[in-house]
Symmetry: C2
Subunit: 372 residues, 2 copies
């Protein structure tokens, strides 16, 4: 990590080495403030998703603005957060490997630790580890509200899991995890809303059934940047897990342009900073950010702030830029909006924070690659 | 890097933490041997591409089998190789940032250093840095033989570049870089061969023109795993740069199945090792390897050695496995063939080398993320 730092504090932005991840600190902080205001206005809790940024620096800034803690998707990611000073972590995912369950339990000596389950045997495993490590772990039942991944069906299937958690001496039943991951990037507003309406109905049914069994859900958690106002105003969700709002990305930008609603206020604050490294051809330039500088699962990067050039293709270490008027010069820098921020961030070791044209901070992405 | 080691030497393979990169050492070594035999049989040189593996351990094993050195795509990647004991590195790419040119020149105190150019001003920059650091840098002119990325057109445009290099006191003209990156993954044999035939014609023309100017090409370099026999038997290329042959990937496997020729002998030796983490649904299972465990630019991973299940979709931390007969069990391990090995490797910090069912070595991927 240390040999590949793309800048120093004070470096003028035009001298920052590329490719790297640039954060426009003003835009980023405005995004933080906007979300904090919304959460506050609705009387909700925010548990910001650290899978987006993987940086304790950012997690702590979210908590400075009122977030109760962070979500992580992996135990090793949670360890990175705790090692960076975060004291309240929900692993919003299943943990099934015995060694990783032990690491989860051990972590509960340093932080409040919560985790999700969708399997009875897994409840027993986590309880045994918590007992062995002398800790209490809070456990949410994950219900599948349409994402089609982990989680049991809403309603009745959640009951035996919640009961098993309640009966486990080293566990505490904390509520429901109900994230509709497939709704976030639906481009049509009504379709997106309909998916969350369906999720809300499933959550409400499950909460009511649990209540009939004497099981109260302190936490009803979910929501992402694409849909959070729906969950936030549903009357059933009380803890939102939005993460991407801090950076945004090209796909969220397309959603914003498609309907102009909902996520209108968040700004692109994260960029792949890139240099034109070859200009031998008419109407084309080659930049130094290719497949190893971005994840292209949601499309390639988009050039920020310029409509005269277009990023049209990526190979391992090269990006092809359409340059119809041959405006680009060798060595020229471009700011690229990642197609999808989360897996793109997971490639880099450093954020280069920039304000007023120079580097203000270098934040290590200590959760990078923490996939265990 | 150190907190996220997925195994220890001696760990049984079934206990290795996931997701991680598993190397089948027997298959990997057979791949090394096969390429070494081919190169030797043709009287060629092999300069193995380290952009595939980013590991000095692997680079040195390639050199043990006769490779003259490695190719890298980035100066920071070259530094990682030299720091790991490699003493002969070609940056098979342009380096245009002044600071990175300085680092390239500085590196020439520790290793033989070669680099590519496609711009006259860049020749002067590299010469100035080499002079400032008191070193000689060997320079290849890159010609674009169809990849449509960097490089000047074959033929006449290469001449002034070669002359400028020859005239530069701290540089040595070393020959031509002529890699047809767009041919490697063409599925049709004849089409793939036609692309290399065209490349060979351009190279031959350029070599001849340079010779008429009194400029000899010691190195005529290019070729990848998809096409290397064409370049190898062309009579003009003398240094092959294949990298992917050590691991192979799902796309190369599809090419092999499409024509059964050319790359028939190389075996899949690299796997994303993954665990079933949720099994709540009929005909489906969720594994722990998603977009942050692979690059999906050439399609998602393929389950190795099983035709009863299929990897059908990836989100950030989850993979969806079609399991029509519900054979998969919670906690079960799968070996996944990456869709594209190079950018997938660039996500991970460690190779877990396995032989006879247990971990034999852990190789740090010290070139990971070295994109500068």
């Amino acid at each position: 990590m240390s040999t590949n730092v793309p800048a120093q504090v004070g470096t003028p932005v035009e001298d920052v080495l590329t490719p790297c991840l640039l954060v426009d600190l003003d835009a980023y902080e405005r995004n933080l403030d906007r979300m904090a205001r919304y959460i506050d206005s609705q009387g909700l809790r925010h548990r910001a998703h650290a899978k987006t940024h993987k940086s304790p620096n950012i997690a702590l800034q979210q908590m400075d603005r009122g977030a109760v803690g962070v979500c992580c998707q992996k135990v090793s990611e949670a360890e990175a957060m705790v090692n960076g000073g975060v004291r309240d972590v929900l692993v919003s995912n299943q943990v099934v490997n015995p060694h990783m369950i032990d690491r989860l339990a051990a972590l509960a000596h340093q932080a409040r630790v919560l985790v999700c389950v969708d399997d009875l045997g897994n409840v027993d495993q986590i309880n045994a580890a918590a007992q062995a490590y002398g800790v209490t772990i809070e456990v949410l039942v994950e219900i599948d509200v349409g994402a089609g991944r982990c989680g049991v069906e809403p309603g009745q299937p959640a009951i035996p899991l919640a009961q098993r958690i309640t009966e486990a001496p080293a566990l505490r039943f904390a509520g429901l995890q109900a994230y509709q991951g497939k709704a976030q990037h639906v481009h049509d507003f009504e379709e997106r809303k309909a998916k969350i309406d369906a999720a809300v109905a499933g959550v409400r049914e499950t909460v009511d059934l649990l209540r009939q069994e004497g099981l109260e859900c302190d936490i009803v958690a979910g929501a992402g940047t694409g849909t959070y106002t729906f969950e936030g105003e549903s009357g059933v969700y009380n803890e939102l897990q939005c993460g991407s709002y801090i950076f945004m990305d090209a796909d969220y930008q397309r959603i914003r342009m498609a309907d102009g609603r909902l996520i209108d206020d968040f700004e692109n604050s994260l960029f792949i900073y890139s240099t034109v490294m070859s200009k031998t051809k008419a109407e084309k330039a080659i930049c130094d950010a290719g497949l190893k500088a971005q994840s292209v699962d949601s499309g390639v990067a988009v050039v920020f702030g310029r409509d005269d050039v277009e990023y049209i293709g990526a190979s391992d270490e090269h990006g092809v830029i359409k340059d119809p008027d041959n405006r680009l010069r060798l060595g020229e820098k471009l700011k690229l909006i990642p197609g999808h921020c989360d897996p793109t961030v997971n490639i880099y070791d450093w954020y280069v924070g920039v304000r007023n044209g120079r580097v203000e901070c270098l934040w290590p992405i200590t959760g990078r690659g923490m996939c265990l």
